[in-house]
Symmetry: D2
Subunit: 298 residues, 4 copies
């Protein structure tokens, strides 16, 4: 079975003229496939999945898997508010050729998303999914948390292979690592705490920042696994500011502006998301330069 390990980029979805711009996406994919990244995630939060129609989602999964053609693993974000739609998308992902699915918590009916309801949801999804399932905890967007207790319980399901925890609660991450079933992988959901997650026994991360700096993010894990703690830590600390810029501070508009800056295609996000304003772009550019990784030395 597919084993979750390493650094993945949750790739941005490029738009032009209100439609998915597949030619631009191809160009971006070429860059990511040529990088040190372990793999990619299509239709994560950074992929604006909630702004895509069901038809666009199907088409996008097919395109990406078709283009990547097994050169790196592809994980598809298939979480939807309803159980049945999530399962349907999982089947499409399998047909398209993805290696695993990433399933965010349903979240509009927060008050009803008890441990019991979430547990049932993930079990139903995992039972019916032809691909291994990765839990996706994203409290900042969902207002719902997958507790350590629930993650540990779900880790026993043979078709649930890991969690991407974007909550950033390092104690929760430690508790999941400690108590989860053997073989269950814990992924940092953000570059800002990749190093502490690895230090506690995590398996890698799915990092917005890896869209921009795939080699640098991957290097952090390589250094860590080679026992070069000081270098890993220094690199961690260097990545925090730029990661913050393309996540909590400016979100997808920031990520897409950064893609434009490094020579890929970012373009505008889909409304209601708004493009980054000029003054913020200037500041973002300075932040990218301060990393020392941009512009690339040749």
């Amino acid at each position: 079975m597919f084993k979750l390990h390493g650094i993945y980029a949750p790739i941005a979805t490029p738009f032009a003229g209100g439609k998915i711009a597949y030619d631009k996406l191809e160009k971006n994919l070429r860059f990511w496939l040529g990088s040190d990244l372990t793999g990619i995630v299509v239709m994560g939060s950074n992929g604006e999945f909630v702004l895509l129609s069901p038809e666009e989602k199907e088409e996008l999964m097919r395109f990406v898997c078709g283009y990547v053609k097994g050169r790196k693993p592809v994980i598809a974000g298939t979480g939807a508010e309803s159980t049945v739609e999530t399962i349907r998308l999982n089947k499409v992902a399998a047909e398209a050729g993805a290696q695993a699915v990433l399933v965010v918590t349903p979240n509009y009916y927060k008050g009803e998303m008890t441990e019991q309801a979430l547990g049932r949801f993930y079990q139903d999804v995992a039972d019916a999914s032809p691909l291994p399932v990765i839990l996706y905890n994203m409290p900042r967007n969902t207002g719902v948390n997958i507790s350590a207790k629930l993650a540990v319980e779900l880790s026993k399901h043979p078709n649930i292979i890991g969690i991407k925890d974007s909550g950033g609660n390092i104690v929760q991450i430690a508790e999941i690592i400690r108590n989860a079933a053997e073989g269950f992988s814990v992924f940092a959901g953000s570059a800002s705490y990749l190093y502490p997650t690895l230090a506690l026994g995590g398996a890698g991360g799915t990092l917005a920042l890896a869209n921009i700096f795939p080699d640098e993010c991957t290097r952090l894990q390589t250094l860590f696994e080679a026992g070069k703690m000081k270098e890993a830590r220094d690199l961690q600390i260097r990545l925090i500011e730029s990661n913050h810029a393309v996540t909590a501070r400016w979100g997808i508009p920031g990520l897409k502006a950064a893609l434009d800056m490094i020579g890929l295609y970012g373009g505008d996000p889909r409304p209601p998301l708004m493009p980054l304003e000029e003054a913020d772009r200037e500041e973002l550019r300075k932040i990218l330069i301060r990393t020392g990784f941009f512009p690339k030395k040749t």
Copy 2:
């Protein structure tokens, strides 16, 4: 233009065998149309709109408008995460024959839903919508608040006619009423603060509880408008506990169980929502009985 006033029920969507049960819905609609309700809202939060596919949404709007045939106004909940899908659904609602649309705030990208982004979203939607637009503030589900300042600003748009405020912040409600453009209607989003909303100059409410007790909810406003303050207040206070049961406490599972109890069809909600457990049903029944409005005296 359509004027928002009175008591609306945001109707539940009945399911059977995983599909919308139109025969059951017809039975329920007969009850609501025969009641004192001013009108109905299809695909509000209580209608499990986020659990419906785009095709189901279209079909449901057409069915309800077709069945109601103008006997009472129908408002359609058309809010979606993306601006373009919201506008598309507004057009379908207009073709189906709805009187207005209720548009919830986009909410997955909470961090990006600034005043500016929300303002742009509603203006784009209102500009393109063939039907008058009602703002829908639902912070408990969305984690996003439409501030009094933003609501007041949007009230000036000729195609934005009111707000359903389900936040329950009575000071915010008072500020909107005070400062909004002439003719803009403020609706309580929950029966628990209908009376204070009316007392401050609100125009009515869209109330989950009106699914169950349509005449009693409507009577509160009738009493208030007849200057019978004491009776209105006493009725308000009587409605709080049962309203709480079918909203914050047990949500849609509670509402559907209550529909079953009063002789309509509730049925199970769509997963991941879970049906109310037996012990909770017993307690809910007691709460309904304590209102004195159930079972109906004949």
Copy 3:
């Protein structure tokens, strides 16, 4: 026994040279005693009670009660983190001549302030207090809420006569009014929801704004009790902006600046509270003028 009803001002504590400025306080008290206010609260949140030493608290209660000499009721804020200190201050308040005590929830150990612990605290305090006790719910400052359920339970204690609810949750206020023991008074904790509180059966309010506009705040209740709903509501809506300015927006620094503006003594708050900055003072002045109550017409 003392009956809680009407409008109280939770008076500011004036400082000069790092000490309580009793001469300034005397001047302010003359104004409040000459107004339509029902009574005053010394050492409420607006009185900077957490910034006073135990000795200052004792002295201040004695001074105020001595000066007021029964012309209006005086309520003393005696809540402290520890039960024993609260009880001690209650005894001093009784000796000083106060009519009742206002007791805020202990709050530093939020995690331990369960319903059970809060219930025990208030029962112990009420059992030992020579004066009637008023519960003080102030979640914005304390991070702790006295639930409707707890307030109702405590309302049965013979020495607990009411609650000042500064949480602003109008449904919670309605539930307390509905279910509390006979004779238990519910007070709005802020002018912004005085009218809805009265409309639901509340007994009055303790209002920061009553420091500045005592007659206008009192008039709202007089109008309401005379059945002049429209006038009461219009006055309510006029008071919201200025009330917001001296509470949530600028807090005690705003209140003290406003006192200076209307010709009383505000002065600087005690550090770490900082005096209002010049630009904010200008804006505050405009807000006061917009009320139409300032400057006083003669």
Copy 4:
């Protein structure tokens, strides 16, 4: 100047008959002084400092410093709501013989505790303090956060030597470590994230759990500093559950019950804190046993 490094226990304050039980404290101190702990903190959150009168605080600092007599460093928690009282207690701490002071954020007037106000507070305190000052960030109790930006700015003050960060936000901790002035120490405020804090370059911790397991907590840092990453990490993971029990889960009542269990004196906390109930004691005992560190093997 005093350099903050290593593991400190924020010691519990024992009570008997409503008074500080100095004989019991002496017994406990003997244990802590005989352990591997670097030092102790008197009147931290675990010392129930908000439940002590000013006189008790003075007496307690004098007693502890007098008993310890320089055998280990003593840090005194002197934070109070008012600047002037904080400075006064700092002087008493210096006279008593403490090495440094730990100053929590003022917090009752949360709305006014802006970066600017907090910055001014700490600068005034540090300017006037005869002892080096340690910032104390405790958002769970205070509802106030010292941001990385503010901590970094304050780190430049010559009399501010470190921070105890009990917020647990590992990214904030990383940012402070990265950007603070040379020589500024960052301490974990809880045993649950001691290892990740050290891994990022932190200097140690002040840990409730160190009251109970002083040698084990200290060993974690020793292992880390010896480069034994795997052992350090395993120990970290073993400490989480018991640490949770004496902090977030059961707070001071849990800590005091655990002290009783290991043969020290815990006793009852001061009301309104309530002693741990019997069933919870049983569960706590099991948790302590599960650590493998209790009961001590001889």
